[in-house]
């Protein structure tokens, strides 16, 4: 019995999320993830990257643009790790600045509570995929999964304080 597989013509869409984790040094660590789903909402690929902490030099160089730069780097690395080519990328407002949007070179869908809007005119294929996804799980649901999954891997990856590590 074969497991369900994605058909070659199933459109894919991606959802981007970030997480900042306070670090003992006072600088926050940045994590990012991309969840790629089919237009039926089935998970296809999940890529995450982190943690990324700026060096003191970078903090001085970028100053108030530091967070944006960190996120931009994370986005670039995620794209390098991504095998699938989605039709659009969904993200929350504020997580997608113009520089990051340019890196994707894809239609960007900003997803908020109960509403979604395109940053720029989408391609017909992207719009069709969005409509299909809306009908199955809703446009915001995969983003919720991506956020939950990123939080899960961050928790898993973060080193535990001494005394809390398994087996030791």
């Amino acid at each position: 019995m074969e497991a369900p597989t994605r058909r070659a013509d199933d459109p894919l869409v991606a959802y981007l999320c970030f997480q900042s984790v306070p670090h003992e040094t006072g600088e926050a660590e940045e994590w990012a993830a991309l969840l790629v789903v089919t237009a039926q909402g089935l998970p296809h690929e999940f890529v995450y990257s982190g943690p990324l902490r700026p060096t003191p030099v970078q903090a001085i160089l970028y100053q108030d643009q530091l967070a944006a730069q960190l996120r931009l780097s994370l986005v670039r690395s995620l794209l390098r790790g991504l095998r699938a080519r989605p039709l659009f990328v969904g993200a929350t407002p504020g997580s997608m600045d113009p520089a990051a949007a340019d890196v994707f070179r894809l239609p960007i869908l900003i997803v908020e509570e109960g509403a979604a809007s395109w940053l720029a005119s989408p391609t017909p294929a992207a719009e069709a995929a969005a409509q299909r996804l809306e009908g199955v799980v809703g446009l915001g649901e995969p983003l919720g999964r991506a956020v939950a999954a990123l939080a899960y891997v961050v928790e898993y990856e973060r080193p535990k304080p001494r005394g809390e590590e398994d087996g030791g």
Binding site: P4, L35, G41, G50, Q69, L78, R80, G81, V136
Partner: protein, 570 residues
């Protein structure tokens, strides 16, 4: 900066998953903005191996396979283990079933208790849904299967049910899984046809128990591992020694859902066989009764009408389309064929009464085969009444026929002492006694003629009403149902209309269903029975007859319900 990718191309069997991350836990790097380490993990079903590839993916640098991390701190112990980590991650990445449940376009909204039942089934490989009759077990099973199909967790499912209910399940599957309506396959017909139906690619198959048993033992079924098998009326396999029970248990499957309304508290042997099937023989010992009960509690969801009464409408009507057995079908088709030929030979002399007479005989044959006594309706009714009585409930059974060939007196004889009758041919004293016995609980089932029993009686003890055959006019049926569904009725009433598939009953039912929406547009709250029957055109159309012009001129206004369409005394 690391990138980890988890590719979820497929959803493999959890038991075949190999451990993925044997390498030390990923090391944190205090790297520069542009240096990235990529680790990719794929999970593929066909080879069962996990491929793990490490590499650096710095700017301008090529990936190096299996390259160890550079300038890395010593690895810290992993917790939790990698395969648990991936299993947890996979769960989080799966579509949220509540979101899918809310967005599915169900033909009717699911009641909250039904949504609970759907989720109960969806989340379990082994489940026993034991809701009381009338709460929609089949709806919940189909909706849960639909969710599994939608979320890509299953590809092939099999529903096994009593032979008489195969058509009913097919209709319900097409209603509740509209996206799959064209690919629902019923396994029936000749041996060759069934062989093809078993071997064709179809996401959902429906088969009667006897068909399945026969084909399984004859080796007509393919070597196939089913993603989901559903047993309707699962008490059919309560006897572990039967061939059917053995065949059901031998079916390779991942998910096993059993549906039964029959309470299983009283007989441990009945429970054991069903639980053995549900759990695929694992985890159910032959030991003590407490262990068995504990296993049952863990696997079972059971609701009674009282518990969900506030969620249900006061009255629910369920149409059950039944399949005739072969001999009953042969007799029916012969009668129809010969009867229509005779009517056509009448030509201009054809009257409405001739058509009604043939329709009445056909309807009687739908109830009982005169030659063999076979009755798919009786078989269904017996099963339902057994459940009803086991729950200490009471029921009403309406029929337009009272005679011993195809009516209430036949039912009384076939069903036994629990069944009393009430019809216009009885003395007033006898009728009063029948009602009293029912209301006192001495006679849990009361069979009433539609005319005599349809008005003026208070029979609120009945939580279930059966229309053994349908009348021409649904408003008359509503009045009959109101014997049970009225003020003082503590429970929601479930009404079953029994209809023989592929017969004039189904045609008439189709016409009445189309009109029923209009019928319910009442004037000042009062239904208008006189305007809601079949027209003369429709009557002739049921038998594909042309109405002679003279008949059309004689019957410009459809007769009302009291004009005696079928001439039976009621």
């Amino acid at each position: 900066m690391r990138v980890r990718r988890v590719r979820l191309l497929k959803e493999p069997e959890p038991r075949t998953l190999e451990a993925v991350l044997r390498a030390p836990r990923a090391r944190r790097l205090h790297g520069t903005v542009d240096r990235v380490r990529v680790r990719s993990v794929w999970m593929r079903r066909e080879d069962g191996d996990m491929q793990t590839r490490w590499g650096w993916n710095a700017q301008g640098a090529a990936e190096a396979e299996d390259a160890p991390a550079r300038r890395a701190a010593p690895a810290r112990p992993t917790a939790p283990p990698a395969d648990d980590f991936l299993a947890g991650l996979r769960e989080l990445l799966r579509p949220n079933v509540h979101a899918v449940l809310r967005r599915e376009e169900w033909p009717h909204p699911l009641y909250p208790f039904q949504e609970e039942g759907v989720l109960f089934l969806y989340e379990r490989d082994a489940a026993l849904l034991a809701d009381e009759m009338g709460l929609g077990k089949s709806v919940q099973a189909l909706a849960a299967a639909g969710l599994l199909f939608s979320t890509g967790q299953i590809q092939e499912a099999l529903i096994l049910c009593p032979a008489a209910l195969v058509s009913h399940w097919r209709r319900e599957a097409r209603r509740w899984l509209p996206r799959m309506a064209d690919v629902v396959t019923v396994v029936q017909g000749s041996g060759m046809a069934r062989h093809h139906q078993w071997h064709s690619r179809a996401p959902l198959r429906i088969a009667g128990y006897e068909t399945f048993r026969s084909d399984f033992t004859a080796g007509r079924m393919p070597e196939r591992h089913w993603d989901l098998v559903v047993l309707d009326e699962a008490q059919r396999i309560k006897n572990r020694e039967t061939e059917l029970a053995h065949a059901c248990k031998a079916l390779p499957r991942r998910r096993s859902w059993a549906l039964t309304g029959t309470p299983l508290e009283n007989s441990l042997d009945d429970v054991l066989s069903i639980l053995e099937w549900v759990t695929r023989g694992s985890g159910v010992g032959l030991g003590s009764a407490p262990a068995l009960r504990a296993a049952q509690e863990g696997l079972q969801l059971r609701r009674k009408k009282e518990a969900v009464a506030l969620q249900l409408p006061p009255k629910t009507v369920i149409n059950i389309v039944l399949d005739m057995g072969p001999r009953q079908r042969d007799a029916y088709e012969r009668l129809q064929r010969e009867g229509v030929v005779e009517l056509r030979e009448r030509g201009e002399r054809l009257q409405v009464t001739h058509v009604l007479a043939l329709l009445t005989r056909l309807k009687q044959l739908c109830n009982f085969c005169p030659a063999t006594g076979e009755s798919a309706k009786l078989e269904f009714l017996r099963g339902q009444l057994a459940e009803i009585l086991a729950h200490n409930r009471q029921a009403l059974v309406f029929s337009q026929f009272t005679d011993e060939r195809a009516g209430l007196l036949r039912l009384e004889r076939e069903i036994g002492p629990e069944f009393s009758v009430y019809h216009g041919g009885m003395s007033p004293a006898a009728r009063d006694r029948a009602v009293q016995r029912f209301n006192d609980g001495d006679s849990p089932v009361l069979g009433l003629s539609l005319r005599a029993g349809g008005v003026g009686l208070n029979l609120q003890r009945a939580a279930f009403v059966f229309h053994f055959d349908r009348w021409w006019n649904p408003a008359v049926e509503w009045q009959a149902e109101d014997r049970a569904h009225r003020i003082g009725q503590p429970l929601p009433v479930t009404v079953y209309r029994l209809i023989m598939g592929g017969t004039v009953e189904e045609k008439v039912h189709g016409i009445l269903e189309g009109k029923e929406a209009l019928f319910r547009e009442v004037i000042e709250g009062v239904p208008t029975p006189g305007r809601s029957g079949l027209s003369i055109d429709e009557l002739f159309g049921v038998l594909d007859l042309e109405m002679p012009p003279r008949v059309r001129d004689d019957h410009l206004v459809p007769p009302d319900a009291d004009s005696g369409f079928d001439g039976s005394p009621g």
